[in-house]
Subunit: 343 residues, 3 copies
């Protein structure tokens, strides 16, 4: 067999590190496409001049682009036979990615637990994105439910990693040189500084985007994500393609510009759930809640811990679960992240 | 309220200058997308070599890309609550934009007139696009009808600016260094020089493009235009998204290559009307009329004043209005501009 | 008439060389779009670092991008009035194309033969793509059936060129400096070297892509291909747009990554047939057959001659024709090419 059938649950070994294929050099082309695919307006990744005024050498690509590129590389090895993408934890952006950088990725298996049905199991991996100097640009834990090839295959000893509920503010990595001392609120688009946000505050981001099949496929292919469900309409009886969860993350994050224009850089991913699938034709909306605030040692730089919820049009904002504790059917995404904001 | 509800008619003050948010660095990525989104074939913005042979340092991005990027920045401040985009005047391109340039924009309020119904008013702005050196690359007047937040708000003294019917040929700004002395007609694609066009001549550009939802949304997002009507299918009872008028301008201009391949650079926008809305599924066609001709002081460079009309398939070319003076329902765009042509 | 009606059969002269219009500078933007439009994962054109490790100065753009850009330039002169695209032969890639290069194209008429019906004829052209140094980057023969403008026009003496059934292995041009001595199989994505493939071996590439209207139009416009049938839904009674055959070639080639990840560079196009038209909504799949193998003088570099067949979902792999010798209706493409593979 020359083709890759993907790994099954019994193929993973605790502690092994998998080097993922297909390194990728990014350019202004990927940045332009990010602006075409999402309503991306955060000034720091839109303008070299704005980024320089904030102490960076040029505009980095959107942090979620780095995430998608790294995530995409892991799909052939981690989630080709995944039944579900269960969660994220301990995600940290460690270095900005600039046009010209080349990214590759590797994942270490940090947990394995067979399901009681014997047909699948949960695999935890810690994935790192690396640039051409071998420096880590991103690190996160993801766990997925993966089918077994052979239900009779013996189960490994169950190992469930202990994961932080969120990244501690003291562990956030601020990009070298970043300074918001001369931050231009007018060019950024909103007057709200770190001090203007209160823990518990909720923001309805108001705008909506109706998703087309070609858009999510262009995006997901751009990240070299190979999961069949996103591209092959013959894969489901209803002929619909399942939209890559990361597409919804980027839609929600870019929609959140309206109210969080100054939340310029994502520095940590604390947790995330793809609550319900998203399909072409859905109109996606978003709201945020301020979960926590922290100061940093860097000039003018504060951090906000934000909950970002994406929902389909028709779903009320600020509610995510029904009385039985289950996600409401219109909720698509429930994400918890840290972003840097001028103080 | 953290989100931007946009300005209403009573929020504008005569003479004030609004600095628009979100500067943008352009790259080869935006240029490639322009070629993917429109049938763009004008050689000067397609080939660095062709541009150098015409005295420029490299291929500038399409003039309409500069226009869309600047226009997009103004939307959150000028037209988020606009009922209608009424017109353009006195538009001039002042410097070519090259990959690597960063654009920002500002608009000065030059006219205000409340409508007799007291529910809305007309706002005139002169918008300037600026590059990273603070040099103006583009300047134009636009006027829009904007809703009032409070119909009881007092009306400002009506001020209607005097606007030129068209940019005088002597006011056209020819890019520094531009020379058509060694112009290569074969590489440009057509043999027709400035002298081959006669005032009154009409050209049916023959080709048509059927528009898809995802295409106009990709384009409009690329220009960071935030008007909801272009992206949110829940915004109208019929579930259709209104196509950004500038998308039709670019479609018509690029379709006009077939007959006007040598009209290489747009240097002025005299007037423009979005006669009827365009929707996905429409097949757009275009025709042009030569309105005027002018020589310039630059080597080998002539100017043509052109009327560019976009229409839906099924509409006859060369007619735009019915007997009562109204635009025919199939007419989408009626534009008046100056372009540079080799003599 | 200012517009280009295209050439008709009687407009071609044996031996004439047509310089095609609209040179094009490529950038990272075109590369990013190639990754968004196709599931492109071959490491050599994805990563500058991988390409440098293989002896090249940077990642070249995909060989098929060079082909599409050159092909697109020929359309206004060769196939605007073509009834059918009949075949390819003697295609060779002569120099890699890198971001920053500017491509133009020219075609020499090498054969003419009027059809017995007197209404059309076959035109053979040898097309060359040239970079900004005037170096040929690509050369191929294509023949098309072209309508006559005037069925009474006299027929030229029939000349049918003698064309090689395939490019001889000894005529393959290996890019200067290419070395697979330090080739990284892990980063490339598959462990199979040249020696692991056997003549006669067939590979089902498993994956499928469902095609959308906007995707094939974005791609085809990006190559500045002007054939109306791809863009104008009013052109056919059924309102469907015919997908550019080259779009199917790129889909099939990129789908073939799964099983042929190490077939890094296409160096020759031996033959090709667009067996049936492809339309939006079709799910495209692909399979390959190893037709031949050859060593090369370059370090670690072998060549595989491959047959690449694209088919619609529901068509069995490995069969292309019915008993009467005709292509099965689900077969879209039957291509024969040489690619370079690490030994």
């Amino acid at each position: 067999m020359k083709t890759n059938a993907g790994r099954f649950f019994e193929d993973y070994r605790l502690g092994e590190t998998i080097a993922h294929a297909v390194p990728r050099t990014v350019s202004g082309g990927e940045r332009a496409l990010y602006h075409a695919l999402y309503p991306a307006r955060h000034a720091l990744s839109s303008s070299d001049e704005f980024a320089r005024a904030c102490g960076l050498p040029a505009a980095p690509v959107d942090e979620l682009m780095a995430f998608h590129l790294v995530f995409g590389k892991t799909v052939p090895d981690i989630s080709l036979n995944a039944v579900a993408n269960l969660g994220y934890a301990e995600g940290r952006w460690l270095k900005p990615v600039f046009p010209g950088d080349t990214l590759r990725a590797e994942s270490t298996v940090i947990g394995l637990k067979e399901n009681s049905n014997g047909a699948s199991g949960v695999v935890w991996v810690r994935t790192r994105g690396l640039n051409q100097q071998g420096e880590a640009v991103l690190s996160y834990v993801r766990w997925v439910m993966v089918r077994k090839r052979d239900t009779a295959a013996p189960a490994p000893a169950p190992t469930v990693p202990e994961l932080a509920g969120s990244v501690a503010a003291s562990d956030l990595v601020i990009p070298e040189g970043l300074s918001f001392t001369d931050y231009d609120l007018t060019l950024a688009g909103e007057p709200h500084r770190w001090g203007d946000y209160a823990v518990g505050e909720k923001i309805d981001h108001v705008d909506g985007v109706t998703v087309e099949e070609s858009e999510h496929m262009l995006a997901t292919r751009l990240w070299q994500n190979t999961a069949k469900v996103h591209f092959d309409a013959t894969n489901r009886p209803d002929g619909r393609r399942l939209i890559y969860g990361g597409h919804v993350i980027s839609l929600a994050r870019t929609l959140s510009f309206n109210g969080l224009a100054n939340a310029q850089m994502i520095v940590a991913l604390n947790a995330g759930a793809h609550a319900n699938p998203c399909f072409a034709g859905d109109t996606v909306r978003a709201w945020s809640e301020v979960l926590d605030k922290a100061e940093t040692a860097d000039p003018g730089v504060g951090a906000l811990r934000l909950r970002l919820v994406a929902m389909k049009h028709g779903t009320e904002p600020f509610v995510t679960r029904s009385e039985d504790g289950k996600y409401l059917p219109g909720v698509l995404l429930d994400l918890d992240y840290w972003a840097l904001v001028p103080r």
